[in-house]
């Protein structure tokens, strides 16, 4: 890989941005709660610390338990490498929407089974909820991407997101609604408020945190890291959607684009933090109602795609 | 000549109607014999009309088998198994007779409606008698409680058919008429045997109680 400036930006994004996003969210939440909050890169420090720690495993668990985090991390990294970042083409080419979605599913599959592996009722319970939430949110996520794909006449992510702004045929409304749908389903997928509370430690209400309740040491580090990458991946896609829709209104200079994506990602982090500060966690039974919004946004986006597609 | 035949067939039918009005086995059998006798007479009249010698044999056959042997055998059977009086089923016996009179009227209309053979002249009233016998036989079978009654009903029905064959055709082939007679004889013998068996194993011959075989 030739070390161009674009690639440099890419590598920096991939290494720094995930931790930065988590840090920003935590910091802003702390601000709203009148706390100082941890340093912005606290999660990175945590990671280093965890990698140097001993690991405790349950006596009942098997190799599946350790394979879960490994697979999620490898998978997330792979996905991050195969998704375009606005002007940057991915190093791993040929990833289409469905492959993307199903690699995510593969990761989910292994995280579900590895969380049940130790036989802990808490993590298994969370796994059940995770499975339920994810299949409910799946249509929203897929349809949002497919709507984009239909407008772009391709299911290849590189062709949907990686187009130069001037040949971008996808209309504003599709970008916008898809972005919204992705954001809402991202809240579900990333276990954020109001679906899941990542900061409490009550086993019975959590989903993601409870799933990894048995993990420790390097194993937990991989989980945290892959979560951070997932955050990056989702926010990256969402941010691109919004940047594109923005670019339909204001002509952005090409050089500013990568920067604007990063800015929008941070802004999304702020938004998430604000939502988490101002909303309460929904009761379990209300979750489908929330997901329904995500699905409606994706449906709106697909309708928009059809409406705009007819002309061409 | 034709009138004679008409009179004879109608008389046979009237005997059948009278028969349906009685519950006494022996009376039934006597009336059956009378009815068959008049059929034999009708047959005789036909034989004279057609001048066929074979029909005379048939007449003798009828008299020997159906007028004498069969009623005698059946009344012997009725005596033996002490089946004297049939209480009747589904319809009171007098009413049965009234219905059979109605059937007689019906058979008149039926006979008029029949696409009959016109070669022998006006035969509608002959057909009336035959059909009436047939219907009365059916009614008899349907309204008698005793197995014996069903045999008598069957015989009456068969009489009707025979009468029909005799009066409405130019005479069935001889061998067939004799065959039918033989058939009746064997059927009555076998039927009688079974009636006897029924009496032995059920200690009655009430066929309405033979309903062990059903769904």
């Amino acid at each position: 890989m030739i070390l161009t400036s674009a690639n440099l930006v890419f590598i920096v994004t991939l290494t720094i941005m995930p931790f930065l996003l988590i840090g920003v969210i935590k910091k802003i939440k702390a601000c709203f709660q009148n706390r100082v909050g941890p340093p912005v890169f606290q999660s990175l420090y945590n990671l280093v610390k965890l990698f140097n720690k001993d690991e405790i495993l349950s006596k009942d668990c098997s190799w599946i338990f350790r394979s879960g985090p490994l697979i999620s991390f490898s998978g997330m990294l792979l996905l991050c490498l195969s998704v375009p970042w606005l002007p940057l083409q991915p190093p791993v080419p040929g990833c289409d929407i469905f492959l993307f979605v199903y690699v995510l599913a593969l990761i989910r599959f292994f995280s579900i089974i590895s969380s049940i592996d130790a036989g802990s009722p808490f993590s298994s319970f969370a796994a059940s909820r995770e499975a339920t939430l994810s299949f409910l949110a799946e249509p929203a996520f897929v349809l949002a991407l497919v709507a984009l794909g239909i407008s772009a006449h391709s299911s290849d992510l590189a062709l949907i997101f990686g187009q130069p702004i001037e040949n971008n045929r996808i209309p504003l409304s599709v970008w916008f609604f898809s972005g919204l749908a992705l954001f809402l389903s991202g809240i579900v997928e990333l276990s954020r408020m109001p679906i899941d509370d990542p900061s409490t430690h009550l086993e019975l209400t959590m989903v993601h945190e409870a799933m990894v309740i048995e993990n420790s040491g390097p194993n937990l580090a991989l989980v945290e890291w892959s979560y951070a990458l997932k955050l990056l991946l989702f926010f990256g896609l969402i941010a691109q959607c919004f940047v594109y829709s923005l670019s339909k209104i204001i002509a952005l200079p090409p050089l500013l684009l990568p920067l604007s994506v990063l800015v929008v990602m941070l802004a999304l982090g702020c938004l998430t933090a604000m939502i988490e500060s101002f909303s309460v966690k929904l009761s379990w039974g209300k979750n489908p109602d929330f997901i329904a919004y995500a699905v409606s946004m994706s449906l709106l986006s697909s309708l928009a795609a059809f409406a705009m597609n007819g002309g061409s | 000549m034709m009138n004679e035949v008409n009179l004879l067939t109608v008389t046979a039918a009237v005997f059948a109607i009278m028969m349906s009005g009685s519950g006494q086995s022996r009376t039934n059998l006597l009336l059956y014999a009378m009815q068959t006798f008049f059929i034999a007479l009708a047959c005789l009249a036909q034989a004279e009309a057609k001048g066929s010698p074979e029909l005379y044999t048939v007449v003798i056959g009828i008299i020997v088998i159906k007028v004498l042997t069969v009623p005698y055998f059946l009344s012997w059977l009725a005596n033996k198994i002490e089946a004297r009086s049939d209480p009747g089923a589904f319809l009171p016996i007098p009413l049965t007779m009234h219905v059979s009179i109605l059937l007689f009227a019906l058979s008149h209309f039926l006979a008029l409606g029949l696409p009959l053979f016109k070669g022998i002249g006006s035969v509608a009233s002959d057909a009336t008698g035959a059909i009436s016998l047939l219907l009365t036989g059916m009614l008899f079978m349907l309204t008698r409680r005793f197995a014996l009654g069903q045999i008598i009903g069957f015989l009456t029905l068969e009489n009707g058919i025979f009468l029909f064959a005799v009066t409405q055709t130019k005479g069935m082939p001889f061998i067939i008429e004799m065959g039918i007679l033989l058939d009746v004889l064997v059927a009555v013998m076998i039927g009688g045997l079974f009636v006897f068996r029924i009496q032995k194993s059920f200690e009655h011959i009430d066929v309405t109680q033979l309903n062990g075989l059903k769904e």
Binding site: D60, D117 | G212, E215
Partner: protein, 651 residues
């Protein structure tokens, strides 16, 4: 030069010989039967591979004739693919059952089993090769009856009988519809040869629908699927593998042969296929989620997969009519590819279920658990099977699903009716939903069966079964992986099977590269982060909130895992709880409380139950006619006489 006919003939003869031998010989027949059947399957596979793209007809001349047409068979690429699948799965099944039957010994009559199994394979082979309607139907019925015989292998168990009866009933209905359709086609074309039938005529919609209906019933498409969750679990696992892996594909094959190759003239069939396919994929996976018997769960998953296959078939039919060649080609390949894939992974899973059953003597999810340490080989195969069944890359299940997605996507993006675009979009949403559920289903099954702690003493004491029983699923697992990673050439091959699609270029799927990268990453990170601290691992009990040791019963089980789904889809999955409170003073001091939750099957209680009740009611009324009274019977004679005369006079 061409060994196809002799090879197939040899396969036929060997299967027949094996069936007869099973009955006739007295001792040691099991091994001979296995050998003969396996040899037949090998011949079958090699014959199928020989066919390639040639097309030949083979009439069984001589004394064999079926009333209206001779026994005749046709070999072409399509039948080759399916008979190769049959040969493969049958080979596996025969070898597997050799080991598996020991576990059932005493309960199963081996003669009966081997005879029926061989006839079953023979019947399926006949269907795949049949060149005319009569040969097709004869083979079809041999297949159905012998498989029904296998479903009821345990003569004294009433569950199996019920299953077999439901199955027989369903299969007979299917035959009735097929017969009606075939008769009609014969009426239209005056020939029994499939080659002379053309399904692409709009005025033959009704018979086409009848044939399709027969196929729907046989393949267990909603709402005709109810036999499937009864029949598949009741059969011995090796047979379930054949039934689910190959037999239901017979209907898919017929659909391909009749409608997809030839094209259906009417759009309605496409709509029906799409609608029923979509509903059954959803219904199947939803009901699979709440099952707690491994094989029943797998059976419902078959309903789901068949639904997807029929959905793809529907899209293909639509695209053919709408002249969208590329989409049609994609959907066509999807139908074949997913049929094969499903055959591979589903039989793999059923074989594993058999292995579990023979090790633990239970198929109830709630009495299993923790088998990963006891049965490592089975676990590995099952994991691959589950991932394939949840359509996860890089396994073959994903490729099939990807093809369906792609065809739907292209349909949504294509310039056709707007309604169809929207429908395709909705179907994508539905499929992704179904995919998510399928993932949850298989994650649940895998986790409950293999992970955690054993939920019963039997599971605690389980041990790995014989090598043969491990090797067969493992071989299938390798095939699943190969079919997934090297999907490209296979897709091209299948595409060429249709005369019109050979020139169409399809989108490519870089699944091999992705899989390779993934593996490389995983190995790298394992070496980098996890392996080196192997000596720094400490073992402790699972987190128990500090309350003390967790019992195996406290683990999540199949029902509790599915609970949230049960509440969301409460209208479809109707649970009814029965309480039984016993004791001297039940109200104040209950001594024994028993609560049982039962799920009401909507279709059975609302549709099939009433239909059956109607037949019974008719029977009851008819029985009254036969009341035993001779007077009544005589009356019938007279009434019929009167009726006939009246009809004659009126006419």
């Amino acid at each position: 030069m061409n060994f196809v006919t002799p090879l197939f003939l040899a396969a036929f003869m060997l299967l027949l010989a094996s069936a007869v031998l099973a009955i006739v010989t007295r001792k040691k027949f099991s091994l001979v039967c296995v050998a003969l059947t396996a040899l037949a399957c090998v011949f079958l596979i090699s014959g199928a591979l020989q066919i390639g793209r040639s097309d030949s007809l083979w009439k069984l001349s001589g004394p064999f004739y079926l009333g209206v047409a001779p026994l005749s068979f046709r070999f072409d690429a399509l039948s080759a693919v399916f008979s190769a699948l049959l040969g493969l799965i049958a080979l596996c099944a025969a070898l597997f059952s050799h080991a598996y039957l020991k576990h059932l010994s005493g309960r199963i009559n081996q003669k009966y089993y081997w005879c029926s199994l061989n006839l079953f394979v023979l019947g399926m082979l006949g269907v795949f090769l049949a060149a005319n309607a009569i040969t097709f139907l004869v083979s079809w019925e041999i297949m159905s009856l012998s498989s029904a015989a296998l479903v009821v292998w345990n003569f004294s168990e009433s569950k199996g009988q019920k299953a077999a009866l439901i199955y027989l009933g369903a299969t007979r209905l299917a035959t009735a519809f097929l017969s009606a359709g075939f008769l009609w086609f014969h009426h239209a074309f005056d020939s029994w040869d499939f080659a002379k039938w053309h399904f692409n005529q709009a005025d033959l919609l009704v018979p086409s629908m009848m044939v399709a209906l027969g196929l729907f019933i046989k393949s267990g498409i909603w709402p005709f699927h109810i036999w499937l969750p009864y029949a598949h679990p009741s059969a011995p696992s090796s047979v379930s593998a054949l039934m689910s892996g190959v037999m239901v594909k017979v209907a898919v094959y017929a659909l391909l042969r009749f409608f997809l190759i030839d094209g259906s003239g009417s759009i309605y069939l496409a709509w029906v296929c799409i609608a029923l396919g979509a509903i059954s994929s959803f219904w199947g996976v939803l009901f699979a989620f709440v099952q707690s018997d491994i094989k029943k769960l797998l059976a419902y998953s078959t309903v789901e997969n068949l639904g997807m296959i029929f959905l793809a078939a529907g899209i293909c039919l639509y695209a053919q009519v709408a002249q969208l060649k590329e989409i049609a080609a994609l959907a066509f390949v999807a139908v074949i590819f997913h049929s094969i894939n499903h055959g591979l992974f589903k039989s793999l899973l059923f074989f594993c279920a058999g292995a579990i059953d023979s090790a633990v003597h239970s198929r109830k999810l709630d009495s299993l658990g923790g088998l990963i340490n006891k049965m490592p080989a089975t676990t590995g195969s099952f994991l691959i099977g589950s991932t394939a069944a949840s359509a996860l890359p890089p396994l073959n299940g994903f490729v099939g699903k990807w093809l369906i997605y792609q065809s739907l996507f292209m349909l949504a993006a294509s310039e056709t009716e707007r309604a169809m675009n929207v429908l395709a979009m909705i179907l994508i949403g539905l499929l992704s939903f179904v995919g998510g559920l399928a993932l949850a289903v298989f994650a649940k099954m895998f986790a409950v069966v293999f992970l955690g702690r054993p939920r019963s003493p039997a599971a605690e004491n389980a041990s790995e079964c014989s090598k043969l029983m491990n090797a067969i699923p493992a071989a299938l697992a390798v095939l699943c992986l190969v079919c997934g990673c090297f999907a490209g050439p296979l897709i091209t091959y299948f595409c060429r099977m249709h005369p019109l699609y050979s020139a169409v270029s399809l989108p490519s799927l870089p699944i091999g590269q992705i899989a390779f990268l993934f593996l490389a990453f995983a190995i790298f990170f394992y070496l980098a982060f996890l392996r080196k601290n192997g000596e720094r691992i400490r073992y402790f009990s699972t987190w128990d909130c500090g309350y003390g040791s967790l019992l195996p019963k406290m683990q999540v089980n199949s029902q509790s895992f599915a609970h949230s789904v049960g509440t969301i889809f409460g209208h479809l999955l109707q649970y009814v709880t029965h309480f039984e409170i016993g004791g001297h003073d039940r109200r104040h001091f209950p001594e024994r409380i028993k609560a049982e939750t039962v799920m009401i099957s909507l279709l059975e209680s609302r549709i099939y139950g009433p239909a059956l009740a109607l037949v019974r009611l008719l029977n009851r009324h008819f029985s009254k006619l036969q009341a035993g009274s001779i007077h009544l019977y005589l009356l019938y004679v007279f009434l019929v006489l009167v009726a006939m005369i009246v009809i004659e006079v009126l006419a």
